[in-house]
């Protein structure tokens, strides 16, 4: 199943400048793996050494932060949109 992934400006240079990718997978973890397989330069940007999400990366499925769903095991379905955003200051 192919999921549409939105990339933030800061990550686009690692994906040949693409703003959107279509990646196959059934969970967030599989999608992230798929991105890294296609663009190895993404790995250190997306993942920590232990394979968990980089501290300054937030991943959302249909705008819900996956850290508060099932993290990497969060299921994705046809038509879902995955967004990757850098953690920035608010307030």
């Amino acid at each position: 199943m192919s999921i549409s992934v939105r990339l933030p400006t800061v990550l686009r240079p690692h994906a040949n400048g693409e703003a959107r990718l279509d990646v196959d997978g059934e969970t967030v973890g599989e999608i992230i793996e798929g991105i890294v397989r296609k663009f190895p330069g993404m790995e250190t940007n997306l993942l920590d050494q232990d394979g968990s999400l980089h501290r300054f990366v937030n991943v959302y499925v249909n705008d819900e932060d996956v850290r508060y769903l099932d993290k990497m095991a969060t299921a994705v379905m046809d038509g879902d949109e995955l967004s990757i955003l850098p953690a920035v200051a608010g307030g």
């Binding site: 933030p8 400006t9 800061v10 990550l11 940007n45 980089h54 501290r55 300054f56 990366v57 937030n58 959302y60 705008d63 819900e64 932060d65 850290r67 508060y68 967004s83 955003l85 850098p86 953690a87 920035v88 200051a89 608010g90 307030g91």
Partner: protein, 316 residues
């Protein structure tokens, strides 16, 4: 009625308005905590007062000393209001992408404003304020993102007010900026009533921060980490500018409530929560009113051009 002796005595004890007519589920009440009713116009009045009082008490802020603070606006405005009454000069570092009204309010309360590039978002302001504070050790740097008085103000005032006024609360929804409101109110509510769910709403801020060189320039507020934010929050979701404006308009139309754009985002979060639960009582924070966002046309332009203007400014 009491006669108040100083403007900062008017901070807190804000009213709660039932806006359940906006709930998509008739078994779920939605209640708005009106923080726009604070004297400088936002929820940030509480933390500004708490941080300044705490620094004075600890001797970190002495008469006549200059204060420096990074802010996307509301904290700076609140601190400038209090500083003006207590005789502290204040320097506020803000992204140039704040609304013109936020800028004017900082000027009105006598702050010296330092602008940082809009494409760096609030991260740029944090960086510059830290640099300036290091170059001026004689200044007081209270630093809302890392100051425990920020969440503590909410733990000690906002949280208890909410539970006192709405003892049957089931969900608390608020915008995520420094995380102070969510950490303080969330911790208090969960300590007192374990079943309460805490939901965070945020704008797609990182999307517009074009000036980020790498993800290592990312930022998670120290307050969020120290107060165990990841365990405390039950859900966290993005609400985009268009939906935020639509909900801000609904608040005006259905409840006569002229709330800021981020409060529209919080209402959108409440409506999502209400649709997913069987029954409950949701309290959300109206962190400010709409006055500071009139220039975006959020209520007066057509939806698409209002959305385009809101995307260019920081409204959280």
């Amino acid at each position: 009625m009491t006669v108040y002796r100083g403007i900062d005595e008017l901070i807190g004890e804000t009213p709660i308005l039932d806006v359940s007519q906006l709930s998509p589920n008739s078994n779920v009440q939605i209640l708005a905590k009106l923080e726009g009713s604070n004297p400088a116009g936002s929820v940030k009045d509480r933390i500004a007062k708490a941080m300044i009082n705490d620094a004075e008490m600890k001797g970190l802020l002495t008469p006549g000393q200059t204060i420096i603070e990074p802010s996307s606006g509301n904290t700076g405005i609140a601190m400038a209001m209090i500083a003006s009454q207590r005789g502290y000069p204040i320097v506020v570092v803000v992204p140039e992408s704040i609304s013109v009204e936020r800028r004017q309010l900082l000027e009105i309360f006598g702050a010296e404003i330092i602008f940082t590039p809009g494409e760096q978002g609030s991260n740029g302001s944090v960086r510059v304020a830290r640099q300036m504070a290091a170059e001026h050790p004689e200044w007081a740097f209270l630093y809302q993102y890392g100051n425990d008085s920020n969440p503590r103000a909410h733990y000690e005032t906002t949280g208890p007010e909410i539970l006192r006024d709405v003892p049957d609360i089931s969900h608390f929804v608020a915008g995520l900026g420094t995380s102070g409101t969510l950490m303080g109110v969330g911790s208090y509510l969960k300590e007192m009533k374990k079943s309460v769910q805490v939901w965070a709403v945020e704008p797609p801020a990182g999307e517009n921060v074009e000036g980020l060189r790498s993800l290592d320039d990312g930022f998670v507020p120290p307050v969020f980490e120290r107060w165990g934010g990841q365990d405390l929050l039950d859900r966290k979701m993005i609400v985009r500018p268009k939906e935020s404006i639509e909900c801000a308009r609904l608040l005006v139309k259905e409840a006569g409530l002229f709330a800021g754009i981020s409060s529209g985002a919080a209402l959108a979060g409440c409506r999502k929560a209400a649709a997913q639960i069987e029954s409950g009582v949701i309290v959300f924070v109206v962190c400010d009113y709409g006055w500071k966002y009139l220039s975006t046309g959020a209520w007066t332009s057509d939806l698409d051009s209002a959305t385009a203007s809101a995307e260019k400014i920081i409204y959280f």
